[in-house]
Symmetry: C2
Subunit: 252 residues, 2 copies
DNA sequence: ATGATTTAAATAGTCAGATCAGTAGCGCTG
DNA sequence: CAGCGCTACTGATCTGACTATTTAAATCAT
């Protein structure tokens, strides 16, 4: 629980943590944060691998493996003699849940939320339709279990959000389209970071959401694609409304 | 100078790269192929890093960096003492264009094409709508240039497909939604691998596609979202029809 | 002086061997 | 038989060196 945020804080030593545990993921995350925070803007060069090793107090091996991960996600590009340069934002694999998780804490701007909501608008109704046709009985049961978690969350917004996320994940998986399932993972990651926003919505609004989610479960059970689409659109209307409320709240 | 041929390296180097070029990307691709081909099924363990190094004739460093890339894309998971195991297919980052490019040559099954077409059905009409509202004049001009490439391709199916892919890439980017742009890259990758299928469609069908694409350009110029959506749906109808034709052709 | 060519330097890429740390499986103890 | 440590195996990290590539400076010919 006692996390050491370790703000990089380019203090020349900064590596008081003597141990040598799994360190590569931490270095990867730190480098990603330095990119998203603007410390290394797009087009700029990172320090050399040796210098990065000194800065983070790890060997060049760890730095290289971390950079390979970042390169695999389109954040950087390494070339001999040139060094490692930060790619243009268009090349960032923002679809990757991990990239979004690294990105969200820094640029939690409304634009990203809008983009995610637009994406949901596009695919969630179709996902619900497909799920109505393809969901297994087990998936429908899991969906109802998640709904029950939402309905029974009471005053606990964290439990509500967790069940909400689980609901969407199951729904996207029930579309039996691997691409949609992946996008569902992405949306879940986005929802997790908007948890503080959803936590502010009132109880009766949450009850409205519960009712809309219930409609989805019923539609799937009846194999009614049209009803599933309608319920999905209703959920999105509520989500859009809550997002607007959260924005207003934030601007005050 | 003095080349050190080192190992036999039966890598079947058809090219003239007698030197020691960048090998890590090749090893990564080879390992990915071995996974997609079923040589290493989901849940199974890969050989140890040392054994893999011997097998591919490279140092353990290269093997580790390649595995890190695969792990970043959700294909494998490495743990001490356990080894490196192939993740379940649900965890594969099929959204990643590189993963799709590795995947396509092996499992070019219809299911994947259907999934991609479903995804296009979901988002392309909305992308067209958004592009009608947000596209810059430059983007519209680029779109028309790509259309001109399609119209002027004549009998050359390769030139036609290349322009077709460029058209969609520009359109998705013109939606000014980073998520859609990413998905556009994915779809382009998928289209590239269905090139041989599209190459078989007749000239008049291609002319129909040209006309539908023209409608999109016109709608964007008029900032007519509804017309853009309609034209996008028409393109998808044609694409679906051609996909059915390609399937029939393949099954004969 | 100018342009082309050669040389040098800097950096990522690769290699080799060693040590560290975590865990599954086995043997030991009770 | 149950619980507990021991050991071997494997990935994780470290170290230090060398190679290959490419930019940029330096040199040479015109």
């Amino acid at each position: 629980m006692n996390e050491t945020p370790k703000k990089a804080d380019e203090a020349t030593d900064a590596r008081e943590t003597a141990r040598r545990p799994r360190v590569m993921p931490d270095v990867t995350k730190a480098l990603a944060s330095d990119i998203f925070s603007g410390r290394y803007p797009a087009g700029s060069s990172l320090p050399t691998e040796n210098d990065l090793g000194v800065e983070y107090g790890v060997s060049r091996t760890v730095i290289r493996e971390a950079l390979k991960v970042l390169a695999a996600k389109g954040l950087v590009l390494s070339r001999p003699r040139i060094g490692t340069v930060v790619c243009d934002q268009d090349n960032w694999n923002i679809i990757d849940p991990q990239v979004l998780a690294w990105h969200a804490p820094h640029a939690l701007d409304d634009k990203l939320f809008d983009a995610i909501l637009e994406t949901r608008r596009a695919i969630e109704p179709l996902v619900a339709e497909l799920a109505a046709a393809r969901a297994t009985l087990q998936e429908i049961a899991d969906l109802e279990a998640a709904w029950r978690g939402m309905a029974g969350a009471g005053e606990d917004p964290v439990a509500f959000s967790r069940s909400d996320i689980a609901f969407h994940q199951i729904l996207y998986a029930a579309s039996h389209n691997p691409i949609f399932r992946q996008i569902g993972n992405l949306i879940d990651t986005g929802l997790k970071f908007s948890l503080e926003a959803t936590a502010t919505i009132s109880l009766d609004r949450r009850m409205e959401a519960v009712a809309a989610h219930r409609e989805v479960v019923e539609a799937l059970r009846m194999r009614d694609a049209e009803a599933a689409r309608g319920a999905a659109n209703r959920i999105l209307d509520l989500a859009a409304r809550d997002l607007v409320s959260a924005k207003k709240l934030k601007n005050n």
